[in-house]
């Protein structure tokens, strides 16, 4: 090796130049150039690996991860996305400062490096094992069934004391608890929670698969996070389908409505910036001067939570000017073909007044056709009669090839000309009563509709069209009377003047924007877009707000058009390789059906938030309904469980295994007989649903495994209720349940349980909120240490995770952790001599199956009230029998089971075979050699193999599967569709391919848009262009939802409902001392974090104040005597959070922003209100469940996991804010404080 020259001699070498040029202007020297190598080496790496971030922002950005000397040095954006085409900006670069700082975490002090168990529990466990050697189940029993012991270790939660343990010891303890619970209380008392699979789907699948093989439910998250827009299934029968971000560039007019694009969709925001240079107008609807407002030409500063009123007024203008005053052929044709506008609704007389009822059905008209109860009709102008068009939900499950949107008569196949309005051919004009809602309560208004008289089986009825009803609802003056708006300045619902008093937005501006939005749609054939987000979705009445907003895009024919329609970006995800992932995640290859529980209901009961309800539902229902069915929202949930509307795990007040044995001992043999036995027991009240008595210890959830999530703090709305009731540890709850509402259907126990959960297990690489409160923490691999997949709806690619370095310290990938947990369960099961078991499992009536035709006419028939008989799968949940052998769990976990070849694979109600693909996988992945139940099955013992299986079994990543899927849909619809995927039939994605370069997914019926020929994805374009029906009652996009409960709540049509009138304290409150202010407490997304992730990272903390903050208006702050950066406490009866005030004129008065998921381990001082640390952003929150979200068994309102169900909304809340008297960091042990957490 050559010796390096000494810097000193070099120094002297260059004192004299070797030559001068240009009259001495420049010179050349032999100066030292060795220093250059330092800069060269800076960009030399041992390896560069493609990976991404599995964080819950679903940005799915592809990154280069740089490794040097075995250390990840940094990450940089990948720039090799396939082009979007010559006339558009490309996707690259994608990424934001949060992702760019991720590698900090790998070596940070927050990293979980070893398995941990809290010392107090570990001591008990070791002692118990010494008393029960070789019998872990008995050992566990001796701890959890000993009240004193259980209380002791549960009360220690959140107070540190973790001890490093071996993997074996940790896993054995968890396995013992899981199996003890299975035997003693039932498999459905073991629960798993992990959100947003798309962000790292194999890691999600690992735990989901484990839970399903265990027989434990996994919880939904989209609804629990209140990110699910229930309006989407209500209108479209689709969970959420939205355009990719590049499609914004196709828009001619964009309204950002409650969505802060540059902040929450940072990597995509450039498309919004760029499209403005194309001449697209951008309008911002936002109460505060948001970052997205800076993109806008017009700003509608709406009072928070009143967006529905604004949208209704815009709808009023559009209907008035583009439907009634003049007609637009494009709009009219769109409305007739793709919406339920022409469908016919019956009117019903109720105490003298007429109101809108349910759809007129083929059955009413005595038509001899299948599923006649499920075929709503239109009025055909060609024949002057009522006719059933193709595409209704009745035709969907008849399988006669009539499920398409061809405008022909379903019976005669004659072309139809639907009539939008009866006006002009009416038999009469009738006055109907319509409900509307004000801050003072529900009111009714009289409006006129043209009606026809029809002779039905039940006698003569009056009917009108949805279109006529909508015009009446919006208060459009058609010259037929009623209390309508003669001008926009009339203050009747829903005029621009009427909304001005509510929203504070100038009426002229509303009229202008509405006109522009519609005019643009006329000029561009529907390229008017509304980007909606959390700002309007996290409210109790988010669905009414959304329906009012979404009606706008339907009125102007913008949905199903590139560059048009809604674009919902909050908590949205698109798990592209859907079928393959579902097969593995739900363990469909071995068992079924899966236990899928809606998260909100689960947490509502598990954390006993139901015990603290104050506001009777009667205040929320339509004035036409007079009184609600129940006063307590929890009662509706019991109804929903009983009628099979919602899932309900833990299901019965009995172990499902015992129930099976009991049924067998009573002579039941087949699943049908067992179902009948269960129904009989339920009817006799010998058997109960667990949620009828959630505080009975037989009904507690016992084990909760949380992975890829930060439940305790980040997403745990009602944080202090979680601490008190679920975990049983020190909490800051300021509420009590002495004067709360008492339910009718739920047993009230005066003493509320504390510490329901036996074991909280957390897999994480970060010692954050959930880990700190867990009993067992298992070290998970980071995103740069494992194989996985990520996809999103923001772009059409699937990105790989690749390990840049192996899992550090003792960490393991999620796949490997659940694999080893499966091994531990198998081993403990063998040790305990567990025999195979059979259990009774209940599942709800599911959307996209024939069960969505279970409960006709949208009528609620409760068998427990004798209104009907309990029939499994019809008037109550389905009853199944499932067999499990826990000793085989590991073998099943690591092999792809034979069901893949034997049973059809599918999605959204269509099915095909994957037999060939299964054989292919055997050869590609190798088979399991050992003689076991999995003998000869494809080996998926490694995450990378699971990835290959997912890619091969999915229609978006395997061309052959895509073509088979389209052919299956062709059969169902009698349409030609397979060409959408034919050109890519030969492609089958592999992990190596997508590691080399991102690939655009293949067009598949798993989603509703087309990527054919490099087209940008926009939802429902295949519905519009290929006439595939929406999966709704009418097969069209719905303006009208006729379920009895929707009418009970006055929500059959879009309307405005005000924010819930919440008070910070309904009972006693802490003494008031000094100045304070009451503000609406909002928790929007954070700029420098993605939920709690990155909030605690040093690089991000340095960007803004380095700790918890609450934003408030300068005048509100002045009123409470608060200066910028003062420490403040925000509190209400739910709890307290302490933070620094950010005083700003950016926010209007009346609201406070505490950016979401500021976790409790970063700079949180104590508060005298609780004598404890000042909580988290979720301390002042709790959820309110909305009964209409619980409807099921009825067309698009049938249950789907993460598709429908009550949302865990938390915005309709108010807090008291005051200056913190004394900032105490609780670091002085002699202080009078007690119950320190994390001290």
């Amino acid at each position: 090796m050559k010796r390096k020259r000494s810097p000193l001699t070099n120094r002297f070498k260059y004192i004299r130049p070797i030559e001068r040029q240009a009259d001495g202007h420049s010179e050349t020297t032999y100066g030292d150039r060795a220093w250059e190598d330092a800069y060269r080496r800076r960009w030399q790496h041992d390896k560069v690996v493609r990976s991404t971030h599995g964080v819950n922002c679903t940005g799915s950005c592809s990154w280069n991860i740089y490794v040097k000397n075995g250390i990840v040095t940094w990450e940089g954006q990948q720039l090799d996305y396939p082009s979007t085409g010559p006339d558009m900006p490309d996707f690259e670069p994608r990424g934001c400062p949060r992702g760019a700082s991720f590698s900090w975490y790998m070596y940070s002090p927050l990293r979980v490096k070893y398995p941990y168990i809290r010392g107090i529990l570990l001591d008990m466990w070791r002692e118990a094992l010494s008393h029960h050697p070789n019998n872990p189940l008995e050992a566990w029993k001796s701890i959890v069934e000993d009240r004193e012991k259980a209380k002791r270790y549960k009360q220690a939660r959140g107070k540190g004391g973790f001890v490093r343990v071996s993997w074996d010891e940790a896993l054995t303890l968890v396995a013992a608890s899981l199996l003890y619970t299975v035997v003693k209380y039932g498999p459905d008392r073991n629960v798993g929670f992990s959100p947003i699979p798309a962000m790292s789907m194999v890691s999600h699948a690992a735990g989901a698969r484990f839970m399903q093989l265990m027989g434990g439910p996994i919880l939904s998250f989209y609804d629990w996070y209140a990110d699910l827009p229930p309006a989407s299934p209500q209108i479209w029968g689709d969970q959420t389908d939205v355009p990719e971000s590049s499609d914004w560039y196709n828009a001619g007019y964009i309204i950002t409505w409650g969505s802060n694009v540059p902040l929450t969709r940072t990597p995509d925001a450039h498309f919004l910036a760029e499209v403005r240079y194309r001449g697209t107008k951008v309008v911002s609807v936002s109460p505060d001067y948001a970052e997205s407002t800076k993109f806008a030409d017009d700003w509608l500063s709406v009072k928070q939570g009143t967006d529905g009123a604004l949208a209704m007024a815009m709808g009023h203008v559009i209907l008035n000017e583009y439907y009634v005053k003049r007609t637009v052929p494009y709009f009219e044709q769109y409305a007739k073909t793709y919406t339920d506008f022409p469908f016919v609704v019956t009117l019903k007389q109720d105490g003298g007044a007429w109101t809108a009822g349910r759809f007129l059905l083929a059955k009413d008209l005595g038509k001899q056709t299948g599923n006649a109860e499920w075929k709503p009709v239109i009025y055909d102008e060609n024949t002057g009669t009522f006719a059933v068009p193709n595409g209704t939900i009745g035709t969907r499950w008849e399988d006669k090839g009539k499920w398409n949107l061809r405008l022909v008569d379903e019976e005669t196949e004659q072309p139809l000309e639907p009539r939008l309005s009866f006006l002009g051919s009416e038999d009469a004009v009738m006055s109907i009563k319509l409900p509307y809602f004000t801050a003072e309560g529900g009111k009714t208004i009289e409006r006129a509709v043209p009606v026809k008289k029809v002779h039905t089986e039940a006698g003569d009825v009056y009917v009108t069209t949805v279109y006529d009803l909508i015009l009446a609802n919006y208060g459009i003056d058609r010259g037929i009377g009623g209390v309508v708006a003669r001008s926009y300045d009339d203050e009747v619902p829903f005029t621009p003047a009427w909304q001005e008093a509510i929203t504070g937005v100038d009426r002229e501006l509303v009229v202008k924007i509405a006109r522009e939005f519609a005019d643009n749609a006329i000029d561009t054939n529907g390229r008017s877009m509304i980007i909606v987000g959390a700002g309007i979705n996290h409210w109790f009445h988010s669905d009414t707000i959304y329906r009012a907003v979404l009606n706008l895009v339907l009125f102007v024919g913008a949905q199903g058009v590139n560059g048009g329609g809604w674009a919902h970006y909050v908590g949205q995800e698109k798990l592209r390789p859907a079928e393959g992932w579902q097969t593995i995640a739900l363990a469909r290859d071995w068992v079924g059906p899966a236990k899928l529980q809606n998260g909100t209901s689960f947490f509502y009961f598990a954390t006993d938030q139901w015990r603290y309800e104050e506001r009777p539902i009667d205040e929320l229902v339509s004035p036409l309904a007079k009184k609600a069915r129940y006063s307590h929202p929890g009662d509706y949930n019991v109804l929903a469980a009983r009628l099979g509307w919602l899932p309900s795990y833990p299901t019965f007040n009995k172990n499902g295994i015992e129930l099976y044995n009991e049924a067998v001992s009573h002579g039941a043999r087949t699943p049908e007989e067992i179902g009948a036995y269960v129904a009989k027991q339920l009817k006799k009240k010998e058997l109960q649903f667990a949620i009828e008595d959630p505080d009975n210890e037989a009904n507690f959830p016992r084990n909760l495994i949380v992975w890829r999530a930060n439940l305790i703090s980040s997403s745990g709305k009602g944080h202090e209720y979680f601490l008190k009731h679920l975990l049983g540890t020190t909490n800051g709850l300021l509420n009590d349940d002495r004067n709360s509402l008492r339910p009718e259907e739920i047993r009230w126990r005066d003493e509320a349980p504390e510490g329901k959960l036996d074991l909280l297990v957390n897999l994480d690489f970060r010692m954050a909120g959930t880990a700190l409160y867990s009993d067992v923490v298992l070290p998970a691999a980071t995103w740069y240490e494992k194989h996985d997949l990520s996809s999103t709806d923001m772009h059409p690619f699937i990105h790989p995770f690749n390990p840049a370095v192996p899992p550090l310290w003792e960490a393991r990938s999620d796949w490997d952790i659940f694999k080893s947990l499966a091994k531990a369960v198998s081993d403990v099961a063998k040790q305990a001599g567990l025999k195979p078991i059979k259990e009774v499992v209940a599942t709800p009536l599911l959307h996209d199956t024939a069960q969505e035709l279970a409960q006709p006419f949208g009528e609620v028939k409760d068998w427990s009230k004798g209104e009907t008989e309990p029939i499994p799968g019809k008037t109550m949940p389905n009853i199944h029998v499932i067999e499990r052998d826990y000793t085989l769990l590991y073998d099943q976990m690591t092999a792809l089971g034979t069901n893949v070849a034997r049973q059809p694979i599918g999605t959204k109600g269509i099915a095909w075979t994957a037999k060939e693909e299964y054989e292919q996988l055997k050869r590609r992945l190798g088979t399991v050699p050992r003689a076991s139940i999995a003998d000869g099955c494809p080996d998926i013992s490694e995450a990378k193999k699971a990835v290959e299986a997912i890619l091969t079994l999915s229609s978006t990543t395997n061309g052959k599967m895509a073509v088979k899927a389209w052919e299956a849909l062709e059969k169902k619809t009698n349409l030609e569709l397979a060409d959408l995927a034919k050109e890519r039939e030969e492609e089958c994605f592999t992990f190596e391919q997508i590691t080399a370069q991102p690939k655009t997914v293949i067009t598949s019926p798993a989603f509703s848009g087309s990527e054919k020929g490099g087209r940008r994805y926009s939802p429902f374009t295949t519905n519009v262009e290929r006439l595939i029906p929406w999966r709704t009652l009418t097969g069209r996009q719905s303006f009208y939802i006729d379920h009895e409960l929707m009418r009970e709540f006055g929500e059959a049509m879009a309307t405005f409902k005000p924010v819930l009138p919440h008070r910070p304290f309904s009972n006693k409150r802490p003494t008031k001392n000094g100045k304070e202010v009451v503000l609406n407490y909002l928790t929007p997304h954070n700029k420098w974090s993605v939920h709690s992730m990155y909030f605690d990272s040093l690089p991000m903390l340095t960007l803004f104040r380095g700790g918890p903050t609450v934003w408030m208006n300068k005048d509100d702050a002045a009123e409470a005597g608060i200066a910028d950066n003062d420490w403040i406490e925000c509190f209400n009866e739910n709890g307290v959070v302490v933070a620094r005030a950010v005083v700003s004129h950016r926010l209007p008065r009346g609201m406070a922003f505490m950016h979401h998921a500021q976790d409790r381990h970063i700079n949180v001082p104590g508060t005298k209100l609780t004598n404890n640390r000042g909580g988290t952003h979720n301390s002042p929150t709790r959820i309110h469940v909305k009964p209409t979200h619980m409807i099921g068994g009825y067309a698009q309102l049938s249950y789907g996991f993460n598709y429908y169900g009550p949302t865990g909304n938390q915005r309709d809340l108010f807090v008291v804010i005051r200056k913190l008297e004394e900032v105490d960091w609780l670091e002085d042990e002699s202080a009078s404080w007690h119950g320190h957490e994390l001290g």
């Binding site: 090796m1 004192i15 420049s26 050349t28 020297t29 032999y30 220093w35 060269r40 080496r41």
Partner: protein, 234 residues
């Protein structure tokens, strides 16, 4: 013996450390050879303190050259009387010394009180500051205590002794009558020289004098021997 140690051995040890230390530091620590500017962390106090200190110290240095390195007969030959010399020395020296001291106090206080500056200070910074404090404080004291020019004349004692050191003819006898304040000042200065190469003070030698003479554009050419890649770790 003590005399020999203090005024011969210690100075030579310090000078050897000073010279060898700089060479060693330059060879080993190219990227560490810096003034470690903390301007990024605090600007206001630095601007005043740094300017006062640096200009002050520059004039103090010139004064030392005039008083110690240049022999007394040189001034006599020019016709500068002892009285005149002292007036000039004190008129220039006291303001310069006060400026340096004032600047030093500001900088020292800044380093102590500005959290961010304190947090980024190294041991070497504190050591350098300590010696500087000793040197400046003792030097200034000596000057003030020696305002009466009839007392003690360093030009006939310290001057010859110091020049003796440089010419390798050290004579500690010159130091016999030197007052204690001067002795402290001199020893503190040699202490400063000893730690100098290991602190940020090395930046003195990076003063970009070459800018006065070099071309506007400098190209660096690889030496023919060096033309092959040198891309390897040291």
């Amino acid at each position: 013996m003590a005399r020999q140690f203090l005024w011969v051995i210690v100075p030579y040890l310090a000078l050897v450390l000073f010279i060898a230390g700089h060479i060693w530091r330059y060879q080993r620590d190219q990227f560490g050879w810096t003034s470690k500017s903390s301007e990024l962390l605090e600007k206001r106090q630095l601007r005043l303190g740094s300017l006062l200190f640096h200009w002050g110290i520059l004039f103090v240095f010139v004064g030392h050259v005039m008083g110690i390195l240049i022999p007394e007969p040189f001034y006599t030959a020019l016709g500068v009387t002892e009285e005149m010399y002292h007036v000039i020395a004190l008129a220039g020296g006291i303001p310069a010394g006060l400026a340096a001291f004032g600047g030093f106090v500001i900088l020292f206080r800044r380093r102590l009180t500005v959290k961010r500056v304190r947090a980024t200070s190294s041991t070497g910074d504190w050591v350098a500051l300590g010696f500087l404090l000793a040197v400046i404080a003792s030097g200034l004291s000596s000057t003030f205590l020696n305002i009466d020019s009839h007392g003690f004349d360093y030009r006939t004692t310290i001057g010859p002794w110091f020049r003796g050191l440089l010419t390798f003819r050290p004579n500690p006898a010159y130091m016999e009558t030197v007052p204690l304040w001067f002795q402290i000042h001199i020893l503190a200065a040699f202490g400063l020289f000893a730690v100098w190469p290991f602190t940020r003070l090395v930046h003195v030698f990076s003063f970009p004098l070459r800018y006065l003479q070099r071309s506007y554009v400098v190209y660096r050419k690889r030496m023919p021997k060096q033309a092959e890649p040198v891309n390897h770790a040291k």
